[in-house]
Symmetry: C2
């Protein structure tokens, strides 16, 4: 162990994920069930009906399936329709926020064992419909109404980062190349195909300077984790993971109201909370899963999470610091870029990867005996961030 | 005190509400701010910036304002954009579910003081748009797709209750008459006008046997409460309310999958949880705010909450048991029927009423020195219910 043994807040006893990609003919609840049954299979000592006290769901856009109040339907898809449920929504960080509140439920003594799942069914919508729906993550009166989309807002952020710190389009491209390379070894990933810097650079412009391969895709998918209070984890399995840190940060939804375009207060505050509850520092981490809906987001995350100094994210990419065999592997799962980004699922997907890595179940993308990992999920363009820290038990 | 002093889970130190009704030219966040500033005004010792640790938001339909991830915007509307926030969604019980999870946050030791708000802006939509959006509360593949709307589903439930127990349309009408009468004395209510049984009976049919006046309306509005851990309540005010019970129940979203059409497992389970944590029984209650989106819902709530035996709800209405001067006043606020039903706000609105009644601030509708009250918020047609019990301190 690299640190003194902070008491865990909760333990992850299992996790699951659907295949990500274009999943025709399925509802989000069916994708959720696919993820849940993998989690049940991994943990045969768990009797879901008897042991799971509540189902927490992260799901972003009720418009996609014309379905509000989706959490009871998710629970019903796995036979738990009589259990209390809750849907939490903070767009891309929805299921990470759900995990945070599930931890509160355990710490508060209300529940012993909780299923947390995220799911989104998106690809049945036309690209135009999907863009209109996804744009709801931006502020309506001050951003959407002016024509700003998420790629547009992140392009502004990228331009400013380039201006201030000399970050280059090639450095952003390298983030995409790295994450796609990692996704090749993730059987659940949407894109299992390596790409080159040249392919990224020559892909069509979405919002200058962001090109197609700088942007995550429209994806169907679901991921889940099952947590319990630390005292009872061994009842279910010896192969569990400890959650030792949780933090959350929020900032003005409207980017023009922020103090900085290129550093997110939300990430800083969330990681500060996670590091301080876990009593670890960035140098203690063995891997991280960070929000990379757009490649610039990942570079800014390196900086705001303390993996490098402000403005040095791009240079660190050039050095290969965040490759799977680098100083600190980032997005070994393939990230939102390579694995796919079913919005409400992405927070849980990061935790799924952390669980696999810390229990040596990550297959071909397994890193060597990691002890501590961090997840970083972001709603909107730096609006609200939830970060968790996990430890091998 | 009617009961032994169960330790409170949390305390309500203030509450506020916007005016309900048609509020042209305002966003939900502005309605939320209107409610929040009333709460701040009631509690001058509270410094929101310093004291409020998090903002929990209940909001049902992101489509209404084309705005997802709404909680940071709500927080920003009252200057708290740097505070962690969460949006919870369970349609009509959204902000009651938010309160339940805020209580978990306090019990878990994560936060000391939390603002919980609910808001919905609806009337800017055409009736057709509003109905289409509200219908998202029903199950898409098995209900919406077959043409079932919420009034339609509740009409089926009403018919079955009439068949099994002899409940009459007049008895349902009397619920509407009572709640409108109560709303006359609520300055925040949408409808401050008495109606007669004849007016209800002759109003146009929405979904037989439910008529226009059996149904709650489309409303703009917001309500909020501020809670804190019990140990620090006196720091802010002497006039606080104790939350002593919380419970939640859920059932199959699809009504055809239920064991009963006329009794809601969700309500029974939620109230069981609330009664048992609070260590009180129905006979100990001095008032209740229950879900009455349709009049039949209120009659079924009497039965499922243990205010009377199964099937006797209608007869109890004839006896006037739930009038403001009856055995157990129900919906002194006017209920969703008279006060209005801005979906995501309604759970918090019930708690606002409980706070006013238990601190003798309910003005002309104040009941005499109530000690204990219950709230009952329901998502969908009996899908998920959250119930809380409050005590005068």
């Amino acid at each position: 162990m690299k640190t003194g043994r902070t008491k865990p807040l909760a333990c992850i006893i299992s996790a699951g994920s659907s295949k990500y990609g274009k999943r025709d003919g399925l509802y989000a609840r069916e994708l959720f069930a696919e993820a849940a049954y993998e989690a049940f299979d991994r943990c045969p000592n768990l009797d879901p009906q008897k042991d799971i006290d509540s189902v927490y769901v992260g799901q972003a856009y009720e418009s996609l399936e014309h379905q509000a109040n989706i959490s009871p339907g998710f629970a019903a898809s796995i036979g738990l329709q009589k259990k209390p449920t809750v849907r939490v929504e903070s767009v891309s960080s929805s299921s990470a926020t759900a995990l945070r509140h599930a931890i509160f439920g355990i710490l508060g003594g209300m529940y012993d064992t909780i299923m947390i799942g995220g799911a989104e069914k998106m690809t049945h919508r036309s690209v135009g419909e999907a863009i209109e729906i996804i744009s709801m993550a931006a502020d309506f009166p001050f951003e959407q109404w002016q024509g700003a989309t998420l790629p547009g807002l992140c392009a502004l952020i990228a331009r400013e980062h380039m201006r201030l710190y000399g970050t280059t389009e090639e450095q952003m491209a390298k983030v995409a190349v790295k994450n796609h390379r990692n996704a090749v070894d993730n059987p659940k990933a949407q894109f299992r195909k390596e790409i080159t810097i040249e392919e990224v650079m020559s892909s069509r412009i979405v919002a200058d300077p962001l090109k197609l391969y700088d942007c995550s895709a429209i994806t169907d998918g679901a991921s889940c984790v099952i947590i319990c209070k630390p005292e009872i984890a061994r009842r279910y399995t010896d192969n569990f993971v400890e959650i030792i840190g949780t933090g959350e940060g929020s900032d003005a939804e409207i980017i023009m109201e922020r103090e900085s375009l290129t550093s997110f207060f939300s990430t800083k505050k969330a990681s500060e909370g996670a590091y301080s509850t876990a009593k670890v520092e960035p140098k203690d981490l063995d891997f991280a899963e960070v929000h990379d809906a757009f490649t610039i987001n990942e570079i800014i995350a390196y900086e705001d999470l303390g993996f490098c100094k402000k403005g040095e994210g791009g240079a660190m990419v050039d050095q290969g610091a965040f490759e799977r065999d680098g100083k600190l592997p980032v997005n070994t799962s393939g990230g939102l870029k390579g694995k796919g980004h079913p919005v409400g699922a992405s927070g849980a997907a990061q935790v799924y990867e952390a669980y696999l890595q810390l229990t040596d179940q990550a297959g071909k993308r397994q890193i060597q005996s990691p002890q501590i990992g961090l997840t970083h999920a972001m709603g909107g363009a730096g609006v609200n961030v939830v970060s968790h820290i996990f430890r091998r038990h």
